[in-house]
Point group: C3
Chain length 275, copies 3
Amino acid sequence: MLNDVSSPTPEHTTYSDRAAALWRMVQDKTPLIQCLTNTVVQPLTANMLIAGGAAPAMVDVVGEADVFAAIASGVLINLGTVAPSQQDAMPEAAQAAHDNGTPWVLDPVAIGALPVRTALAHRLLDFSPTVVRGNASEIIALAGGVGGRGVDSTASVEEAADAAQAVSQITGGVVAVSGEIDLITDGFRRIQCENGTPMLTQITGAGCSLGAYIAAFVAAGDDPLLATAAAHACFGIAGEQAAAQAKGPGSFGVSLLDELSLLDEETIRARARLS
Amino acid sequence: MLNDVSSPTPEHTTYSDRAAALWRMVQDKTPLIQCLTNTVVQPLTANMLIAGGAAPAMVDVVGEADVFAAIASGVLINLGTVAPSQQDAMPEAAQAAHDNGTPWVLDPVAIGALPVRTALAHRLLDFSPTVVRGNASEIIALAGGVGGRGVDSTASVEEAADAAQAVSQITGGVVAVSGEIDLITDGFRRIQCENGTPMLTQITGAGCSLGAYIAAFVAAGDDPLLATAAAHACFGIAGEQAAAQAKGPGSFGVSLLDELSLLDEETIRARARLS
Amino acid sequence: MLNDVSSPTPEHTTYSDRAAALWRMVQDKTPLIQCLTNTVVQPLTANMLIAGGAAPAMVDVVGEADVFAAIASGVLINLGTVAPSQQDAMPEAAQAAHDNGTPWVLDPVAIGALPVRTALAHRLLDFSPTVVRGNASEIIALAGGVGGRGVDSTASVEEAADAAQAVSQITGGVVAVSGEIDLITDGFRRIQCENGTPMLTQITGAGCSLGAYIAAFVAAGDDPLLATAAAHACFGIAGEQAAAQAKGPGSFGVSLLDELSLLDEETIRARARLS
């Protein structure tokens, strides 16, 4: 264990060690993650969770969403395709998670211009999500600003820093803004993650799957801020390793699952870029 | 044709030959399999059916589910994500399958703790599924016992043997309990299948796809017990061959489809482990 | 620029050049394609669009479908799994696309024998789809004839030529009949595309993804007939290149995405088979 004071890069070292330790906790606990998520990314999300050491369960209907949120280790609510049935089940799950102390992650996909999900996202804020994860446009829209163009962000992460702070004050939880450099804050502390690869934007569902992966880390750990940052780093490292061997987005998606399942603490400690 | 009495391993040989013959019948008939299944596994299930020699059709809305069940070769009803629309369409399809003599498979995913699907599963039993396929916890819950933790079984296959017998007496059909060693029974005869690999639990939807693959074999063959056992063996063999070359769950999923499409009778006869 | 009259294969050359130019326009414009499509093929469709240079957005709920169709570059409406929510959202999107001049593609999957989607398809024709894409049985059914067996066509492309003409006169738009040789017509002109591989029928969702890919080309180009033909050629070329290296349908699906992302104008000019 390096001494934080004498080490030349203390924060990097500390965060990397903690990221590796959190990854280990996920492997040891196999947290059960309930996902109410969009139909486009359900297969990838489930496979990412398994490869990452967690157990997925897509329980998203009224009358079951609350029952399961009470017993799950963590919950993801992702607004990517909000069919009426999910519109009803999501507040049910969020309330049950909130009432039972189950950590939960909100991913407000493409809110801003789209009215149904925007109203739903604001309604879900009442149930104090442990983590909100989105791109810059989504976080700005959640804070009350103007949103982006569909699922792609038109704002930069830095432009969303104030919005992240504002959302964090509403929820009392963590807010993560994904981008070239990810910003993770709980309103007081702020961690940046530089892991990742542009290839993650060349397949559908990487960001959405990251939301579920964050839920697994938050479920396994004690500190949601660190857990969220660790999830970003581990996911980004797997992405970097997959990109190094991929011919295109098809083989990248395959390798991403392989690499996520092959992660180990030594690699995380060596490659995590958290500050 | 070997003589069952004089052969040193008569049952193995017989079952393997029959499994190979049933696989051939699927290839020759290209059974059309209607799937009312969960949204997480639809892509894999459709691709597995095609790779396995069948033709998939995901017809799962009210007003079409019954029309199609009357003309399909076989039907799969899988309770993994029971949106209200599917809750209505499933009994419609089951009744039409029952009334028209279309063989159908029930996969009662994660019943037990989850009330909506548990009630639905028991209601569907009235339409006499040709085959019920589940893990040990699910079969125990279907027989009236206590279920497991989400989609993963907490009970062993052997513990579910009595429950399988009980469910078989209710339906008059075949019950398959998936696990390290699969148990397939029609209440009188009992076949065990030792094919498979732990990698099949490292991707989402392998078990669910097996349910559809069983429907194809039952549709193509005459004896649902043997057809169900043959489907388990062929699926397991493809899994074993994929695992031998996979780096992780991503490449395993890719190879599983490749290997399923490359199966042949000789390989099935040599590798099927049915007893 | 070759002279069409003196060139030994004038039409091939011209169409190939135009296909390459249209592909370039898709890359440069990154059209935003809204998909209301079936849950089986959503992941592949989204990944195909990204690999092909477009941006996908699966916005398919009432109250958002119209908002998004007004701002999207193009819209795909595919009737593969028409849950009640989609049955309501599809006319909403079609009307908004029509009223706002957004080009849109209708894929009437498996209409004919299935009543809900057949009625829906005819209702959607009122909103003048820019392109209708289907197999021979589907186009014949849309023109008022007898349909096929589920998702697979039982009629030949040539048998559907009159039906394509008839549908084109109803919509005033382009009709594409997919098959071994694809037929694309606007009721006056007729283009054939010979690119492709039987492997494209060995994975689920290739045809459905082609529908979205067509929407991207139509959105980027000026001439819907040429854009539709170019999309068929580019998609078919990527399929041919993927088939040359695939071991089976699993690796074919992976390579198809890789090859689509690696296409370039030179390859398209050399390999497009349009006449």
